[in-house]
Symmetry: C2
């Protein structure tokens, strides 16, 4: 059996070095974020920039559109790049743009970033009213055209609503369980169980604000959390979505948090005296850390099938069912 390695969330400052790193780590597919706050025209520009990168680095990467491209990447020793949005801003207020962004290659779309969107509530809002009237319609349309609903940054009720409303399984591409580290962005046991029961996937995050002890999180602590999560929902629903933001200047995390919604500075998961991108843990400075996780999972008792599932095959199977 072929084993795939998939990192189901990165937002790096893309360069030849980063693409080489992913290949050196044998990463066959990466789901990359191409929108946080961008509207439709701005996303078109980002897609055009990616086409330029595909052209320039064609020996390392290409545009992934279906699960077949993950197989192709493995065969050709390249990385298939799948597009996704961390917000619904690219469809603006127009349900007809769902099909347009799918035509451009978007295969994942979060219904919200941290704030309330037109579709659902983000995890930083005080109150969560769930999936909205427009949200219900857009979920139907995403199901129809084949864009996966991603609730990584959404609030609890909104996420449970999305699982219930969607006719297809949904994803949480990058987050961790809150039983391990109770951050706003992490997910409750109830939500994780509902996600898994509906056939969905969670990509565990390596972003320090989502980790117990942050940048000082130990590999053992992370892998013990993976084991507990597997006990809770079954290891076949678990993958990796590292949320790696390598080589990004701090202005980018400031823009992620503030977009153009506030004139008062928001520090998101950080704080005024800790506003920068956090430092990655030593054992996951980049995707070569997949090798450390492999060892760590073995050390906490996982077998090879489960380890390969978590490091890529589970995402591959999800893509095979729903991005095809």
């Amino acid at each position: 059996m072929t084993n795939y390695r998939i990192d189901n969330l990165q937002y790096c400052n893309w360069s030849e070095d980063i693409f080489k790193m992913n290949r050196n780590a044998h990463i066959d597919a990466v789901h990359v974020t191409i929108a946080y706050h961008e509207d439709f025209d701005e996303v078109k520009k980002n897609v055009a920039d990616w086409h330029s990168l595909f052209d320039k680095f064609s020996s390392l990467i290409f545009h992934g559109k279906t699960f077949h491209d993950i197989e192709k990447a493995k065969q050709e020793n390249k990385t298939a790049i799948f597009f996704g949005f961390q917000n619904c801003s690219p469809i603006e207020d127009d349900i007809n743009l769902v099909e347009s962004v799918h035509d451009m290659g978007a295969v994942f779309m979060q219904l919200t970033y941290n704030n309330q969107s037109l579709l659902a509530t983000g995890c930083y809002e005080t109150n969560d009213s769930g999936v909205t009237r427009m949200g219900k319609e857009v979920i139907k349309e995403m199901n129809r055209v084949g864009i996966i609903i991603d609730m990584s940054h959404s609030a609890e009720k909104s996420s449970l609503d999305a699982i219930e409303i969607s006719e297809k399984p949904i994803a949480i591409t990058h987050a961790n369980p809150s039983f391990w580290h109770n951050a706003k962005r992490n997910k409750s046991n109830d939500l994780l169980k509902a996600l898994a029961e509906s056939g969905g996937m969670i990509g565990l995050s390596l972003y320090p604000h989502h980790l117990l002890d942050g940048s000082n999180c130990s590999l053992e602590s992370f892998c013990t959390m993976v084991a507990k999560t597997a006990e809770l929902i079954g290891s076949e629903h678990i993958g990796i979505g590292s949320d790696l933001c390598l080589d990004q200047p701090d202005s980018v995390v400031d823009w992620m948090r503030n977009g153009s919604w506030t004139k008062t500075k928001d520090f998101g998961e950080g704080s005024s005296d800790n506003a920068s991108f956090p430092k990655q843990p030593e054992w996951f400075k980049d995707t070569l850390g997949f090798n450390n996780i492999e060892k760590g999972l073995k050390a906490v008792g996982f077998n090879d099938v489960d380890i390969n599932g978590i490091l890529g095959n589970n995402w591959f199977n999800f893509y095979k069912n729903f991005i095809n």
Copy 2:
């Protein structure tokens, strides 16, 4: 003392006939809707269209910017036209556009139309999470630049939040009390009392879906409702916002309800077998109906000062305090 007549909400299919009607009814100021679903660029186009109307019909109308323009309109026997939005779509997701739309002449902005917006919850949503994180920031900015917060189409908690958060009184430009006609768009006693206690205004609506018995509502029933509302909150907080949509084709009400948020037809306050603009009651077919309301209010016992307040002076005082 000068008495003003103000209709604080119209969305007619603008023409010389409509402008003449308003002058024949001695309407000194009209707050006109220039956006339901339009984004910033689309609103710029609507403003340009209005400048063309101001030019073409300069003997009847002009662009109102402050309360002084209401005085000027009275003196010159014209109608001052004030711009407002029934949604926050013109500011898109950018707080910096609040000042830009004020520069274009916007003096009222609803935080929502019927659906959830980025700022607050509309009255047609199942759950109301109140004013959002971005909503709080935008209210501050609207207070700063001088745009009045209008909660006509917003849900209850969102409206109560807006009253509490705003440092200036807010408006409900066109709606009726739900004690009289329990429609989703009408307002509870609690909300009306909070509005008035904070110095806000409600413009009573003549749109049939907001009226008891719809198109067959009697003048007496309407004026009795005005008397009860005055008992509840004081007549000085009451004006008229007729919501007249004269000469509009039914395609317009369909667009108001559906915008581009759904592929399934939504009928809003209507229904599949009653999808059109409803017929105005006989005693308020157009703004000449202000004369009927004047008689009706006298018949239910209002004195002249209160009647002139309700027909325009109360809105004039509100403009004098907050649009200056």
